[in-house]
């Protein structure tokens, strides 16, 4: 881990500064090196002005009322760049040793910085081909994993197959297993081009041969304030049908991937936390129960983490300081997917953990905000990240049904093989990192494949 170490002045530094010379090397700023603290010799020490409190006894770090600063050599401090061990124990030991030194003011994080994060409305970053390259789709396909005949349910605004074909996708489609709430006028596979069609396109990045199952829950005519909203009861009905589908499959070939790029934007839509009828924090809510039940039956359920990230939340977010990953999006039985752009930077709107039902959310990240389906200028939101990950899951399921690799085991494997981003290991921005098909292939090698792969 990279750090910045702030030193008090030494006699050598003081003398050099008084002579108007360039700052001496780090070696001159301290008597003895701190074991485990590796100083970057390429980094020229930087003089840091010392703040002086406005009033006696006040903290000089409040900055209000205004403080003054001193650059006098005998008062100023110096910053050097270094590194400490990544392992928590080694790190603790080095920090304890360093901060005990009288010449050390402090050791501070030196996080990677980047240009501004991608926000809603920003132009696309890369294309779906870039996403395929980053995911390692070729490695998955070479290992015989492109989702052939694996059913993937798109629980969304419906799918438009003609649009997918116009964009070069030609997925299999199961009208028999598809469903729409009562009152929806259009037929499965022929719904208006919208959010669900974007999701279907993005599933095809890693699983072009998957069989799409269209559950147009968000087209429900149940009263909602926008054209893209339904009520959770519609999702209960969809999941009930999916439970019937997966339960009816032969155990040895059981595979169903369920993509959910939706959730709540406003806690006012729910009973308050603590109320027995609450959804967001309540594992006993009927939808949270059926989610657990569907996963236990062998389905892989993916939920988008949400678009209420702290840096630039979607304008509809009303969570204020409360945790935005809630309800089924935070369920321990699902894979909660955060969003990164094709440069592997978190998109600023991607909701951050902890989750409400399971604090260890999001589970991992996947790519979003790229030019792809043509439904939007960018396939964006964690809405696009979720089906990108769902495609990888569907690709794996072609060879490894739930009978040989349970949904929980597959989630653990995806976490283990994810490319770590952010801090070391799990963090609440990226989860375990960005999904990585290239690393997944060798990790699957030790697992027994399905005895009878589906004939092509």
């Amino acid at each position: 881990m990279r750090v910045l170490v702030q030193f008090r002045t030494s006699s050598e530094v003081h003398a050099a500064t008084l002579r108007g010379e360039a700052l001496p090397s780090f070696a001159a700023t301290t008597e003895a090196p701190v074991p485990g603290l590796v100083i970057d010799p390429a980094f020229t020490p930087v003089q840091v002005p010392t703040p002086r409190a406005a009033e006696p006894g006040a903290s000089p770090y409040l900055y209000s009322p205004a403080v003054s600063f001193s650059l006098a050599p005998e008062e100023a401090t110096y910053l050097v760049r270094g590194a400490v061990p990544d392992d928590p124990e080694g790190q603790r030991a080095v920090l304890a040793e360093a901060t005990a030194r009288p010449e050390v003011v402090g050791v501070f994080a030196d996080p990677a910085i980047a240009t501004c994060l991608v926000c809603p409305g920003d132009p696309a970053v890369g294309t779906d081909q870039d996403v395929a390259d980053q995911l390692g789709v070729a490695a998955l396909a070479d290992a015989g994993m492109d989702g052939y005949r694996v059913p993937v349910a798109v629980v969304d605004t419906g799918v438009n197959l003609a649009h997918l074909k116009s964009k070069g996708r030609d997925p299999k489609f199961s009208a028999r297993r598809s469903w729409a709430p009562a009152g929806v006028a259009t037929r499965p596979g022929r719904h208006p081009v919208d959010h669900g069609t974007m999701c279907a396109y993005d599933i095809g990045i890693a699983a072009p041969k998957a069989t799409l199952v269209d559950h147009a829950v968000l087209l429900s005519s149940t009263p909602g304030e926008t054209a893209m909203s339904g009520l959770l009861s519609d999702a209960v009905l969809a999941f009930s049908r999916l439970l019937g589908i997966v339960s009816g499959m032969a155990a040895a070939r059981r595979a169903l991937v369920v993509n959910n790029s939706w959730g709540m934007f406003d806690p006012a839509w729910d009973f308050p936390v603590g109320h027995p009828g609450n959804y967001s924090d309540n594992p006993a809510h009927p939808f949270n129960v059926i989610v657990a039940s569907l996963e236990a039956a062998g389905a892989d359920i993916l939920f988008a983490a949400g678009n209420c990230g702290r840096d630039c939340p979607d304008g509809r977010c009303r969570f204020q300081s409360a945790r935005p990953i809630c309800g089924a999006n935070s369920h321990p039985s699902v894979l909660s997917v955060a969003g990164v752009d094709t440069g592997k930077r978190r998109v600023g709107y991607s909701s951050q953990g902890p989750g409400r039902l399971d604090p260890a959310k999001p589970d991992l990240s996947a790519y979003t905000h790229f030019r792809g389906s043509g439904v939007y200028p960018a396939d964006g939101g964690t809405s696009a990240a979720c089906p990108v990950a769902a495609g990888v899951v569907a690709a794996v399921r072609e060879q490894y049904p739930a009978s040989v690799l349970t949904p929980a085991e597959l989630r653990a494997l995806l976490a283990k093989t994810a490319e770590d981003l952010g801090g070391t290991g799990f963090d609440h921005d990226f989860g375990w990192g960005v999904i990585d098909g290239r690393a997944l292939v060798p990790a699957l090698a030790g697992i027994k494949r399905s005895r009878r792969p589906a004939p092509r």
Binding site: L218, G224, S233, S240, M264, P286, P377, S383
Partner: protein, 82 residues
């Protein structure tokens, strides 16, 4: 939504109306009786709020829950490309 624990033989709308003394117009027939955890004999029905409060104490009722609005996490941006 009201979660019920029922014997599978009771998991029909007709049976539930009788068991809980509900009028047909108080229950959403399109929703029906949905198995949410068949192994645990848990089902859910969709009823009017007043009816849900009335039956909350019945022995078959496990809980009365909200039915919040949901929405797609779509990109919040301008016009689609040509």
């Amino acid at each position: 939504m009201v979660t019920l624990r029922l014997d599978p033989s009771q998991a029909s709308l007709r049976q539930v109306l009788g068991l809980l003394d509900l009028a047909p117009e108080e229950v959403d027939p399109g929703f029906g009786v949905v198995a949410i955890n068949p192994a645990a004999h848990l089902y859910t029905i969709l009823v009017e709020e007043a009816a849900a409060n009335r039956i909350a104490g019945a022995p078959q009722v496990e809980g009365v829950f909200g039915n919040p609005r949901i929405e797609g996490f779509d990109p919040e941006e301008g016009e689609a490309p040509d």
